[in-house]
Each structure stands twice: as C-alpha cells, then as structure tokens.
Amino acid sequence: MITRLLSGDRPGSPILAIVLLAIFLCLAFAPFLFPGTRSLETAARICIFIVLVASYDLLLGYTGIVSFAHTMFFGIGAYGVAIAISAWGPSFTSILVGGAAGVALTMVLALLIGLFSLRVRAIFFAMVTLAVASAFAVLVSQMSWLTGGEDGLNYAIPGVFKPATKLMDGRLFGVRLDGKLLLYYFVFVSSLVLFLVMLRMVNSPFGRVLQAVRENAFRAEAIGYRVVVYRTAATVLSASMAALAGVLIAVWLRYTGPATTLSFEIMIDILLMVVIGGMGTMYGAVIGATLFILAQTYLQNLMGAASDATSAIPLLPDLLDPGRWLLWLGVLFILSVYFFPTGIVGRLRGRAA
C-alpha cells in the first residue's frame, strides 16, 4: 500500500526514511505540535514549496532542462485566483475558475515556449525562459488595473477558511478548530496529493524516458523517443504543477504580489532548494524545501540571538548580524555543494548503497 503510494520509489536509506517520516509527521500535525501563527505560516510555506521545488526538479533534475520561468508559472496560478476573487468575490467558484484559467494559460505558455525553443540548444531555452519571465514581471507591474501592480492584490477568501470561523466548539489538544486550521489542512492535503502525483510521474514509463532524455538525448531519439515532444511535455507538466502551487499560496496568503510569486529571488531560492536536497530525486525537494525555509525563517532569529550573546567580542557580532543571514546561507550552500555534490538525498542514498 505504502509502496504503491510512493510509486515504488523507496527512500533507500534508513536515515533518509526517518528524516522524511519526521518531516511528514511534523507537517501533518504542525498546528498541534507547533502552535502559533508564525510556525503555521512556516509549515504551510514548506508544504507549498515542496510542490514548487519538486515540480522544478521534474524539469531540472529528471529531464535536464534549465528554466528560469518557474516562478512565472507559479505567479500565473496565484494571480489567476487573486484576480478571479477580486472580480467575483471570495467563493470556491472563483478559486476554481481562476485556478483553472491560470493553469490553462500556464499550459499554453509552456507549450509555446517549449515548442519554440526546445528544438534548439539547451542554453537557448534557458535564455528564452529568462526573457519571457522578465517581460511577464514587467507586464504584471504595468497592468496595475488588473494585477494591483507592485502592490499586488489583497482579497478575502471563502468564509470557511477565515480564522474567525469556528468549525466546532471547544478545542482539540488545546488548538481552536477554526477556519485557519481547515485552510492549513487544505494546503497540506493538496500539497501531499500533488507531490504523490509527481512521485508517480517520475517513476512511470514516462518518467523513465525523461531520465533517458537527460542522460543522452541523442540516443533517446535513436531508440524512437521524440525528444522535443518529451521535453515539451515535461515543461508543460512541471509548469502546471507550479501553477497549482501558485493557487495554494494565493489562497493561503490572501495576498498575491510580485514579491511573493514572481520575484527572481524566489527563482534562485527554488534552484538552491533543488540543489541542496539533491537533483533528480523527488525526496530531495522535500528535504531541500524544508531545510531552506526553516533556515530562511529562523536563521535570522538565531543570528540575532547569537549576535547579542557575543556582543562583548569584537567582529563576531557584526558577522552574526541578522542582516547578514544571506551571507551565511551562501556559505552553507557552498559547503553543502562541496560536501554533498549530489545533494543531501544523493549523499544519504550513496552511503546506504
């Protein structure tokens, strides 16, 4: 049963299995284990980014395609919901219609970019995605009548998801059963399902072809696989998954703007998460996203504390200033790539083999 759910893709290392199980349990019971708004924000972010990072790995790690348009697709999904709710009010119909429109636009765009540029060299595709994503970001900030421009869109969400909505009287393990809790589980379950679907895809006959294309496109073609078609299909699938992650973040945040979806910074974050976790394995996305977002959220606090604690010593407090957290993240990144060139998952699996 579990094997089937995981599509036969065993973690392959006891440590990895334990870590994955721990992450799963923490996310599944996050509202009860880590009460508080901030930790719930972090948990939901981790769920959504696991989907986003896994969908990027489908392209980068499995198929060997570098794209810089992933946040654009993430954004299209999010803006689809945001614009629909702004226009028609906070109903599930708005979410559904807006999300569907976002995914549809994503598929068309990804198909066009893919067909247009995947025939040529890989670097050309990377450059086209970069150009299209930049143009799209400019377009979004210009069309402020629709998108809210740089400020983005604030909107309400369906009543059952509102924190003020009481689902039941009383508390469960000291946690209020409110709309926010329901919303978290909506995000968690959706993310879990999307992740398992992707896990199935990479372990399907189709997923094996993607690996073949990554390994040796020339030979893949010579044994009868039309490489352009597979690359384009992978691009469309990966982009659609990113758009769905965008739908989730739009509903969760009740806000959609360039900074939360389209920014190039997020694109870099996604790249880092894939590499840290391990390219070409879906589990790498889980580990990479979890570690990175925890670091992003808590490293600054930790550093603030450390900076205060070392205030008597020269230089150290400066280095540990919370404002330098990105520097330290960079150091961590370099160290992790140096010591785990195949990512954390690759390293753990390699040790077990």
Binding site: R4, S7, G8, R200, M201, N203, S204, P205, F206, G207, R208, V209, Q211, A212, E215, N216, F218, R219, A220, E221, A222, I223, G224, Y225, R226, V227, Y230, A233
Partner: protein, 255 residues
Amino acid sequence: MSEHPVLETRDLTIRFGGHVAVDAVSATFARGSLTAIVGPNGAGKTTYFNLISGQLPATRGQVLLNGEDITRLGVAERTRRGIGRAFQLTNLFPNLTVRENVRLVVQAKANRGFDLFSMAARHTELIEKADHVLAQVQLDDVADQKVAFLSHGNQRKLEVALLIALDPDVLMFDEPTAGMSVDEVPVILDLITAMKADPGRTILLVEHKMDVIRSLADRIMVLHNGQLVADGDPAEVIASPIVQQAYLGVEAEDA
C-alpha cells in the same frame, strides 16, 4: 510492397563546407540480405549510416524505406518505422543501470513512453524482455550495474544489445566488435549470424575484419572518399583491382 527493396539510397550526398563526405551514393538493399560496408578511415561509412538513420540531413539525394521517401523524417520517426542503429562510438545512458538501458528500448518499441501514471517497475513483461536480451549478449550478471562502471567490452556488448532489443527490420552495425577482446567477439558475431538467419531482416555492417566479412556478407560495398567505388559479390569485390589498391592495399596489415 514486395517490389520495392527494403532500403534504398538515391544519389545520397552530404557536404561539410567544401568536403563531400558522402558523394552521390546510390544503392538498394534487399530484404534478408547482409551487406558489408568497407573503406579506409574517413571514407564516409559512419556518415552514410547517419544519413540513412537521420542523424545528419542529406545535402542531396533520397533515402527510401519500402519505397517510401523518408529523407525528411526525423531520427525517432525513422526508428519507429524500422531502422535501427548501433553506434561505432558507444552511446548509452551512462547513469542508468544496464537493465534500464535495455528496458528503455523495449518500452520504446512497445510504445509505452506516454504512460504517466503507472509504475514502470510493474511492467514486468517489458523487464522480462529486457532480461532476455541481456542474457543473449551475456550481460545478465551485470544487469544491475550502472553503465558508467562497465568495462569497455561490456559497453560494446550493451551497444549491440540495444539494437537487438529494438528489433528493427533494418539493422545497422557500425564496427560492432571494434575494441572488444578476442574472447568477446564471438558472442556478437553469433548474434549477428542469428539475426541474419531471419529472412525478414536486412543488415548493414561496417566492419574492418576481413574474415568476419568473408563469413557473413552476401555483398560488399566499398566506400572511398565518400564515393561508392565497388559494390557486389564479396569474392569479386575483394579480388577487384580498385579494392586491392584503394582499401585492402592500405589496410592489409590489420585485415
């Protein structure tokens, strides 16, 4: 259908800048035949194969499969129509296992590439077919190894195994035994012999070893500077002065 030769090249030509690598080669290949293609290094043998299987676009001329012009078709499309190829320079999926390499070919042949939601590991019929091919080339004991860790000889065997697994009507072998140790060669030759025994298959074989050609070929084509300089019955071609001089003269030592 049967009035057409399985494969035909008409005036097939490719030019790289000023250099004509294959120069107006016209030939027909009958079903069930085994044609050896010989010629000195750089004669254009591999390039001729690339034109037939589609890796290179012809500057001029045509390739016909069962009488149908396939000159404009892509590599994958030609493969699906029955032209299979083993490469001179080993050309595999290095970070996948030996079994997975063959399984991918079997899967392509079975047309299951766009199956997104079933588990590849559960298609046991594909895996069994792959294992059967691996047993034929005696690679079953290394089936679970990553190809990158395989010895050169075993990689050459796998190269041939991929073509066997593809099971096409036209099989093109480009120096299949080059770089193999003496004791590994017979396995490959036996396989080609077995393939030849099937009257439905048409085989093109680039090979330098004269004894191999003598024992297997129904016909020899000699390429020299991209041109077809001799074509016909093996004994006659080998005896012809142009071959003695142009090819065998040069290569006499390693024949």
